[in-house]
C-alpha cells in the first residue's frame, strides 16, 4: 500500500494491529476519520488514552473504573448469590441476558496444569474469602462443560463450605432448537436433568 502521508500510514498500521482488522479495513476507517467533521478522532483518542485508567474490581475481578465495580456496589443486587465465570466476557454475556441480579466472581481461566494454570493461578482464594465475609448462600457455576471446566467446578465445590448451595447452569437443548438436531449427548443430558413444568415459569 502506497500512502503519501506518513501520519496516515502510521494510523493504518495501528488500526490493523487490532484483532479482526486487516490493512484495507484499517485504511477505510482512517479515511473515514480524516473526512469526519464532528471531532470523532479527538473523542476517540481521548477515550483510548483513558483506557489505561481501567482497573480490575478488588472484589470480583471484573473490569471497573473504581476499586470496586458498579455491579459489586449496586444496592439493587442480591449479595447472597454469586455467579462464578471464567472471564470478563462471560460477565458481559450474562449481563446482556438481564436474567441475573446477583454478583459475579471472575476466576481468570479454568484449571489446566498442561497450560500452566493450577488452582493458585486463579482467583479462588478471594472467592473463598468472599463467601465468608459476604455470607454467600449460593454459587452458580457458569463454566464451560469441558473436562477441564468440570474439574474446576469439582475442585471449587470441594473447597467451599458445605452450607453454600452450588448449582451449575443448565446444559441441554438450545432455546427454540428442534430436538432432532440436538446431538445425542446433549439430548441425553437434557432428559436426565429435566425440570418440572409449571405454567408460570414456562410461558414464552
Amino acid at each position: 500500500m502506497n500512502i503519501s502521508s506518513k501520519i496516515v500510514e502510521d494510523a493504518v498500521k495501528s488500526f490493523s494491529s487490532l484483532p479482526g482488522v486487516g490493512r484495507k479495513t484499517a485504511l477505510r476507517l482512517v479515511l473515514h476519520l480524516l473526512n469526519d467533521k464532528y471531532d470523532l478522532a479527538d473523542e476517540m483518542s481521548l477515550g483510548l488514552s483513558k483506557l489505561k485508567e481501567v482497573r480490575f474490581c478488588k472484589q470480583c475481578h471484573n473490569i471497573s473504573d473504581n476499586d470496586v465495580c458498579e455491579i459489586c456496589t449496586s444496592q439493587a443486587r442480591n449479595r447472597q448469590t454469586v455467579c462464578v465465570v471464567e472471564s470478563i466476557r462471560d460477565v458481559i454475556a450474562i449481563e446482556e441476558t438481564g436474567y441475573f441480579s446477583g454478583l459475579y466472581h471472575v476466576l481468570g481461566g479454568i484449571i489446566s496444569p498442561l497450560n500452566g494454570i493450577g488452582p493458585e493461578n486463579l482467583n479462588i482464594r478471594s472467592l473463598l474469602e468472599r463467601i465468608e465475609r459476604q455470607g454467600v448462600e449460593e454459587l452458580i457455576m457458569a463454566i464451560s462443560p469441558t473436562i477441564d471446566g468440570d474439574t474446576t467446578i469439582y475442585y471449587l465445590t470441594r473447597m467451599i463450605p458445605s452450607h453454600v448451595k452450588v448449582s451449575t447452569i443448565a446444559r441441554g437443548v438450545a432455546f427454540g432448537g428442534e430436538l432432532e438436531y440436538a446431538d445425542e449427548f446433549t439430548l441425553g443430558r437434557s432428559i436426565a436433568s429435566r425440570v418440572p413444568y409449571t405454567v408460570q415459569n414456562n410461558q414464552l
Binding site: 496444569p113 493450577g118 493458585e120 479462588i124 473436562i147 469439582y154 475442585y155
Partner: protein, 371 residues
C-alpha cells in the same frame, strides 16, 4: 468382510498403486524395503484411521509430495462401502465413508475390524507394559466404542494430573486438586479395568489353544492380567501414594500401570524364550485377538500378516498355515521376502490366491503374468 480394491497415492514409497484383491488370500513378495509392509499399513489406515506403527501421520507422505490419499472398496455383510482417507501435509486428516465426511475419526473405529501381525509385535510384547496395553486397547476399542471414549477421557485427566505433579508445587490447594483428579478418574478406571479383565479372561482359553497348535510341542503358554485395581480401593491407594507421586512427579496409581504377563511352561518369556517361541507366542496372541474380534463383531475381520514366516521352522510354518485355514480367517494379506516359500506353502494346500511381486513401490509381476 472383504477389501475388494485399494487405490494408494503418495503413501510412504507408494506413488500410485491400484490393486484388485482376492477374497481369501493375497500375498505380496519382494525384497526388503520395496513397499510390501506399506501396502498392509495402508489397509490398516482404511480400517483404523491410523498407522499400525504409531508413526506421525505426515511422515507417511511420500517424500517431496504434500499429501497422501488411500481409498478402498469394502464389502461388509454383503453391503458395499467406499472409504477414503486423506492427509494434506499442511492440514487435517479427513475420512470419507460412502461419499460422506466423518466428523470424528473415532466413529470409524470398529466398522471395519482388522488385526495386523508384524515383526515389531515381538519386540512390543517384550519391551514395555505400555506396548502390551496398546495391543489390548487396539482390540477392545474395535468392539466397544464406550471403552475407547473412557480411555481417552482417563488419559486426558491423567495428563493434567501429571502436568500438575511436574510443576513441582506442593501447596494444600495443589494436593486438593490432585485428589479431585483421582476422584474424577476413579469411575473411568473401574470401567476400563472391568473391560480389560473380562477381555483377558475370554481371550485366555483361545490363546492357550492356539499356542499349542502353532508350537505343536506340548509346551503350555499362559497369560495373566495384572492391575492395581484388582484388589483394594482406588481412591485409598491414590491417597497413600500422593507423597510418592509428588516426589516422583508422576502418577503411580491407575490403569495406566496395568500389565499382561506371558509364560511358557511357567517361565516368564522375558527371561528365556527363544526367537521362534516368542514368534509363536505373538502369533497365538494376535490370532486369539482375531478370533475374539470375529466373535464380538458381526463380521470377519481382515487379517494382515507381515513377514510372519520369518524365523519359524518348516514345521511351525506348516502348522500356522493349517491353522489359518481351520480358523476360517476370511481375507488374509500376507508379505514374505521368500517368494518360493510362500507360493509353495499355499499351493500345497490347494489354496486359491493372488500374489503380487513388489519392487520400488510398484507391482512388477502378478500371478505369473507381467503387468
Amino acid at each position: 468382510m472383504q477389501l475388494n480394491k485399494i487405490h494408494i497415492t503418495n503413501f510412504c514409497n507408494l506413488k500410485n498403486l491400484e490393486l484388485q484383491f482376492h477374497p481369501s488370500v493375497n500375498a505380496f513378495v519382494g525384497n526388503n524395503g520395496m513397499g510390501k509392509t506399506n501396502i498392509l499399513d495402508a489397509i490398516n489406515y482404511l480400517c483404523l484411521t491410523r498407522s499400525n506403527f504409531s508413526r506421525t501421520d505426515k511422515f507417511n507422505v511420500l517424500h517431496g509430495e504434500n499429501f497422501f490419499r488411500i481409498s478402498g472398496d469394502f464389502t461388509r455383510n454383503s453391503k458395499k462401502n467406499h472409504v477414503v482417507i486423506k492427509l494434506p501435509v499442511e492440514g487435517q486428516k479427513s475420512l470419507e465413508l460412502n461419499g460422506k465426511d466423518l466428523e470424528r475419526m473415532v466413529d470409524h473405529i470398529g466398522k471395519f475390524p482388522v488385526v495386523m501381525i508384524a515383526p515389531k509385535d515381538n519386540v512390543q510384547i517384550l519391551e514395555s507394559s505400555a506396548e502390551r496395553r496398546k495391543l489390548i486397547d487396539k482390540v477392545l476399542s474395535q468392539v466397544n466404542i464406550a471403552y475407547l471414549k473412557d480411555l481417552m477421557a482417563y488419559n486426558k485427566l491423567l495428563e493434567q494430573r501429571n502436568a500438575m505433579l511436574k510443576s513441582g508445587q506442593s501447596s494444600g490447594s495443589v494436593k486438593a486438586l490432585l485428589e479431585v483428579y483421582d476422584e474424577k478418574m476413579e469411575p473411568l478406571a473401574k470401567h476400563i479395568f472391568l473391560q480389560r479383565n473380562e477381555f483377558i479372561e475370554e481371550l485366555k482359553p483361545i490363546f492357550i489353544r492356539l499356542y499349542s497348535r502353532i508350537a505343536h510341542s506340548g509346551e503350555q503358554a499362559e497369560m495373566e492380567y495384572f492391575s492395581q485395581l484388582s484388589v483394594g480401593n482406588f481412591i485409598e491407594k491414590c491417597r497413600k501414594n500422593l507423597e510418592k507421586d509428588m516426589a516422583l512427579k508422576r502418577s503411580s496409581t491407575g490403569i495406566h500401570k496395568d500389565d499382561v504377563h506371558f509364560t511358557i511352561n511357567q517361565n516368564a518369556i522375558s527371561n528365556f524364550a527363544s526367537q521362534g517361541q516368542l514368534k509363536s507366542l505373538v502369533l497365538a496372541f494376535k490370532l486369539a485377538q482375531f478370533v475374539y474380534l470375529k466373535m464380538k463383531t458381526d463380521t470377519t475381520p481382515v487379517i494382515l500378516l507381515d513377514d510372519v514366516f520369518d524365523k519359524l521352522d518348516r514345521d511351525r510354518v506348516k502348522h500356522l498355515v493349517q491353522l489359518l485355514f481351520e480358523e476360517q480367517l476370511g481375507q488374509v494379506f500376507i508379505t514374505d521376502t521368500d517368494e518360493q516359500r510362500i507360493l509353495e506353502t499355499f499351493e500345497k494346500i490347494n489354496f486359491e490366491f493372488f500374489w503380487f511381486k513388489i519392487k520400488d513401490g510398484t507391482v512388477i509381476q502378478r500371478n505369473g503374468t507381467e503387468s
